[in-house]
Structures are given as structure tokens and as C-alpha cells.
């Protein structure tokens, strides 16, 4: 996977850099008119640029409008077309959570798609939100790159232009191609009714189908991860084979990896982009190796029960421990959150790696755009600390890092862990929070903290036990949400997405006007293997120091225990 990414990163990253710099690309002739009309629709004249506050306002206004539209779609589902199974609307609190989830590029799902959402809601609601929330994150990352590379101006570009270009030239073509490839591997794409069939034992079954390939493509590319089916990419209609499994893994990591090359090209220093890529890739490989080892060799509890060899609970026979660990590691290191196996059934250590991936701040590739700007926030802090350690002036890309930038980077990196720990604690100590938990003991703590960690970091993967919806029958008749879990999760996702965005845009706005100092003997090099090793250590220590206690009491206690059920 890393080799494929190494090959594709400069190609796609270079293409994206040309798109964002306004250069002509192969699709310009075909889509240039649409781009101009879309920009006019948003009231953007050619050359209009925004400072960080104007850019941030545009991000919030666009996202708020998207939130409202998605909530309305979900709550009026019963009267929409393309509802062959006649589903009713989901409850209000579930819809609050779902709208917040997809607008924040999280795709946390308290619902099962095939028993809750109509085709219209899946296509016009979920799929559209996946496109727009992803494009929002990419636009913010590009604005941050401009802040780091420009001099003498506080302008970061124009959000609406970056949004339209992300959608038209990058996401739509990629999603179209990916949907066709996935359909070719066996993923269904239809608007027909669910199928009725009898299983081998003669029991009547309803087999859910639908426009899966089109949603699956953007689910993976966008870093959203919200599956058409409840079991996500463990479902054979979302992920039919080993080939589709590999394609899906690459799709999850493709744009986040390519953003490092886009960064390198736009600042005119490609080695800086490769240094970020190397930092991410080494952590990804290390985490995946630990997760695989944990899943391939069982746990003390399984050994005590006489079960030896790989732990296959919660895993598809088609994929086994290796492809399951690789997929889940990719889904949690990348910001996508798609899974092809049940994380609740993973060993304590395996689930702990999934949590640790998110605890780094979703910077091991991370989401499209958000992975890059999250890493840049940590780089600013790392450069500041490294500068203090070796007695160099803290600067990055020739721009001096001062007190304001350090405060903004601290806000952007520490706010989300604070959200996770506060809401995770409330969830396990209050009766309202505990009604969502399935397991008790270390597993119960792990699944609760995992829920708020995944939501706050906008990942969206889940340990299956934590619930926010009670659904007696498919189609939402008599369904009701768990208000605490739905509302708390909704707030956590919105704050976890947009507070770091505001902080990083302010940081870019602060660095934009600053002059670029020439490279000298006293400059701390940030494009060397030494700096890569330093950043890996810095990110790991940052995550461990913030979350050590909960990692020990949750997944690691589970990993060391000899009871199968805690």
C-alpha cells in the first residue's frame, strides 16, 4: 500500500497543486464554464481573495447551510421519492447526530443505512455531504499552504473558488472512476427494490441492495467512511473481494497522502512535502504491524480458553487477520473510519492501536486536508520545542514562529483531546451516558472513549457496542434515539471539526504577512531524516501523554486480561 502511495502521491499531488493554483488542467476545457458559473453563484468575482476571518466565515456559513439541508432531508424522508422500502424518517436526535456527522466529515453512524435511510437520503443527503465536507477540508488545507508560502499579504485565497475546484476537478472525476471500478468488482448500483430470497435453511431473507457503488466511492475518497450498510466494508456488497479491499484501502489514503505533495509543490520545496509523507508513512507502517501482530497471535484470554492462532472473531473469512488489520489501520490512521471487520471484537492491543491512530490527532495521513493541516499544527509546535532544545530560532519554511502562532497551534491541537476526555468521562460516569454502553469493565470504558474519540477526531469508525438508536423494526417505526449520545456526539463532532479549522486558519493568516528569512547556518532543517524521526517521536509522545491513562485502563487492561468477557 505504501509503495502504491509513493507512486501516486506526486502524480495526484502535482495535479491538485495545479488545480489550486488556477493552472489549466486536462479537465479545464470541459468544466471551466461550470466552474465560472458556480463561482458566480457564490458571488465571487475573478481575483477576489479573503483574509483568514473572511475565509473562516465562508467555511462556517457553507457548513451551517449544509447541516440544515441535511437535517431537513433526513427528517422529511417519508415523502421523498426513491424510497422503495417506504422508510419513515429517523428520530430528531438521531438526525441531529447524523447531520452533524456528515457535515463535519466524520460519518459517525448510530443508524444502519439499509434499515434506516431511503435511497434519496443516501444519495442527496449522505453522498452530497460527503463531497462537500471533504472539499471544505481540502480548501482549508490549501488556504493554510498559501499562508505558509506567501509573503507580505494576509490573503489566503477564496474559499468558494477552492471549494468549487476541489469538487469539480478532483473529487467528481475521482469518485466517478472509483465507482465504475468498484461496480466492476461486484459492488451493486441500482435503484431497485430490496430482494426477497430464501436462505439454505429455507428462512425468508430480505437482501438489501441500492446505489452502493456511487456512495462507496466517495465514502472512501472523501475520508468520510459512512457506509451504505451497517457493517460497512465488511459487507460483501460494499467490499466483495481481496481486490476491492486493496482498492478501498488505497482510496482511503490517496488524497491525504497526495496533499503532502501538493504542499511541497505549492511552497516550492518538494522535500518538505516528502518529509511530511515519510513521517506519516513510518507511523502508519508501525501501527499496522503492531495491530497485525495482535490480531494474528490471539490474546491471553483466548489462549486461556484453549484458542490458539489468529483471532477471527468479528473478521470476514475472506479477509483474515492481515487484510482486516491493514484495512482498520488505514481507516483509523486515515480520517476515513471505514472498517471491514468489527473493532469491538479486536484484541485489546489491536483496538488500542486503532485508538492510538486517532489520538495522534488524525495526522497519520488523516482526512483529506485535515490530515495535512493537523500535521502542520504539530510541526509548528515541534519546531518551537526543537528550536528551544537546540538553541535555534524557531522558524518553519523561513517564517519565524512567535508566541501567537504557538498559542494558536496549541489551541488547534489540544482542544480536541480536551473534548474527548471531558465527554468520554461524562459518558461513563452518568446514567444518561451509560445507557449507550454494551460492555462493562475495560471494554465498556474503551468503547465509550472510542465513541467520543472517533467523533471528536472526525474519524467515524466505531466499536459496535456503543449505541445512539433503538430501532425495534427496520424502517424507523417506533424507533427512538438515545438523546445524550446523539446530542453530545453531535456537539463533539461540530466542535472537533471547526475549532481546529479556525485555529489553523488564524495561524495561516498570522504567518502570511511575515517575511521569509533566507536559509542560513542557524536554520533548523525541517526536510531531513533527523526531523522526520523527531516528528515521529513528538507526535507519539504528544498522543501518549494526553491519553495514557485511558489507554491503560481500557484497551491495554483488556489486552492483558485473561477473561474473555470483562
Amino acid at each position: 500500500v505504501v509503495a502504491i502511495l509513493v507512486g501516486l502521491t506526486p502524480l495526484l499531488g502535482g495535479y491538485m497543486a495545479r488545480v489550486y493554483q488556477g493552472d489549466a488542467v486536462a479537465l479545464s476545457r470541459l468544466l471551466g464554464g461550470t466552474e465560472r458559473r458556480a463561482c458566480r453563484l457564490f458571488g465571487v468575482a475573478s481575483g477576489d481573495e479573503q483574509d483568514w476571518k473572511q475565509y473562516a466565515r465562508s467555511v462556517l456559513l457553507f457548513s451551517a447551510a449544509g447541516w440544515l439541508l441535511l437535517y431537513l432531508i433526513l427528517r422529511t424522508q417519508g415523502i421523498h421519492p426513491l424510497n422503495p422500502e417506504s422508510f419513515h424518517s429517523g428520530p430528531w436526535n438521531l438526525s441531529f447526530n447524523t447531520a452533524s456527522s456528515f457535515v463535519s466529515n466524520t460519518s459517525w453512524q448510530f443508524y444502519a443505512g439499509e434499515t434506516t435511510l431511503s435511497y434519496f437520503s443516501q444519495m442527496a443527503g449522505i453522498t452530497v455531504a460527503s463531497f462537500t465536507s471533504c472539499a471544505t477540508g481540502m480548501a482549508v488545507a490549501v488556504a493554510v499552504i498559501r499562508g505558509l508560502s506567501r509573503r507580505g499579504t494576509d490573503k489566503l485565497g477564496n474559499f468558494w473558488v477552492d471549494l468549487v475546484r476541489s469538487l469539480l476537478y478532483i473529487l467528481l472525476p475521482l469518485a466517478l472512476a472509483a465507482a465504475i471500478v468498484l461496480a466492476a468488482t461486484g459492488v451493486p448500483q441500482t435503484l431497485g427494490h430490496y430482494l426477497n430470497a430464501r436462505g439454505p435453511t429455507g428462512i425468508a431473507r430480505t437482501i438489501a441492495i441500492g446505489p452502493v457503488a456511487s456512495q462507496e466511492a466517495i465514502k472512501l475518497i472523501s475520508g468520510d467512511g459512512g457506509g451504505f450498510f451497517n457493517t460497512n466494508s465488511a459487507h460483501p456488497f460494499e467490499n466483495p473481494s481481496g481486490i476491492s479491499n486493496l482498492i478501498e484501502i488505497v482510496l482511503m489514503l490517496l488524497i491525504p497522502a497526495a496533499m503532502t505533495a501538493t504542499f511541497g509543490r505549492m511552497i516550492g520545496r518538494r522535500r518538505q512535502g516528502w518529509a511530511l509523507f515519510a513521517t506519516m508513512a513510518v507511523m502508519f507502517v508501525g501501527g499496522t504491524a503492531v495491530m497485525y501482530a495482535a490480531e494474528a497471535h490471539g490474546t491471553p484470554a483466548l489462549h486461556a480458553a484453549g484458542l490458539h492462532g489468529a483471532s477471527m472473531e468479528g473478521k470476514e473469512q475472506r479477509f483474515g487477520p492481515a487484510a482486516s488489520a491493514l484495512f482498520v489501520s488505514s481507516g483509523t490512521a486515515g480520517g476515513d473510519g471505514a472498517v471491514n471487520s468489527g473493532v469491538e471484537s479486536f484484541s485489546g492491543l489491536g483496538a488500542g492501536v486503532a485508538m492510538a491512530n486517532m489520538m495522534t490527532g488524525e495526522v497519520i495521513f488523516g482526512g483529506p486536508g485535515s490530515g495535512l493541516y493537523g500535521m502542520l499544527l504539530l510541526v509548528v509546535l515541534g519546531v518551537f520545542i526543537a528550536g528551544l532544545m537546540v538553541g535555534r530560532t524557531p522558524e518553519y519554511l523561513g517564517k519565524q514562529i512567535q508566541a501567537r502562532e504557538v498559542k494558536l497551534a496549541s489551541l488547534g491541537t489540544l482542544f480536541v483531546p480536551l473534548l474527548v476526555l471531558v465527554f468520554g468521562a461524562i459518558a461513563v460516569v452518568t446514567a444518561a451516558g451509560r445507557q449507550s454502553m454494551l460492555a462493562h469493565g475495560p471494554q465498556g470504558l474503551a468503547e465509550s472513549v472510542y465513541a467520543y474519540l472517533s467523533q471528536a477526531q472526525n474519524n467515524g469508525s466505531a466499536m459496535a457496542g456503543y449505541t445512539g438508536l433503538i430501532q425495534p423494526v427496520a424502517g424507523n417505526v417506533g424507533a427512538h434515539g438515545v438523546t445524550f449520545a446523539d446530542l453530545a456526539g453531535g456537539f463533539v463532532m461540530l466542535l472537533g471539526r471547526f475549532v481546529p479549522i479556525l485555529a489553523v486558519l488564524a495561524l495561516a493568516g498570522s504567518l502570511g504577512p511575515r517575511r521569509i528569512a533566507p536559509h542560513g547556518l542557524g536554520t533548523l532543517r525541517t526536510d531531513t531524516p533527523t526531523f522526520v524521526v523527531f516528528m515521529i517521536g513528538f507526535v507519539a509522545i504528544f498522543a501518549v501523554l494526553t491519553f495514557l491513562t485511558v489507554l491503560l485502563l481500557g484497551p491495554l487492561a483488556q489486552a492483558l486480561g485473561s477473561h474473555l468477557i470483562a
Binding site: 476571518k53 451497517n230 471487520s341 494558536l408 423494526v473
Partner: protein, 60 residues
């Protein structure tokens, strides 16, 4: 086993759903409840807080 059980449950529920699937449009029409107003207000308040935060962050 857990996953298989969960999936079986989903499909069993899906089969049961046919008892509810033949309903006229009036029955499925959305009924705007006071909790919808609460949810929309909560969403608007969330974004309003974030909007106000722009000015707070600018003072750092």
C-alpha cells in the same frame, strides 16, 4: 459470532419490516415536532458559537 448475530438480527428485522412497508404517503408524512425546532436551534447555536469564536481567536 457477535458479528454474525448482529447481521442476522439486521436481516430478520428487515424481513419483519414488510409488515410496515405498505403504508400510504400520509402515514409517512413528516410531523414537525417541537423537538425538531430544538434540534435546529441547537445546530444554529453551535454554528453561532463557532462564528463568534472567530473574533475571540483573532484577539489571541
Amino acid at each position: 459470532v457477535t458479528q454474525v448475530t448482529q447481521r442476522t438480527t439486521v436481516f430478520t428485522r428487515s424481513a419483519r419490516r414488510h409488515a410496515f412497508s405498505v403504508r400510504d404517503l400520509d402515514d409517512r408524512a413528516p410531523k414537525i415536532q417541537c423537538m425538531d425546532i430544538v434540534a435546529v436551534l441547537l445546530g444554529i447555536i453551535s454554528f453561532a458559537i463557532l462564528y463568534a469564536l472567530i473574533f475571540g481567536i483573532d484577539r489571541i
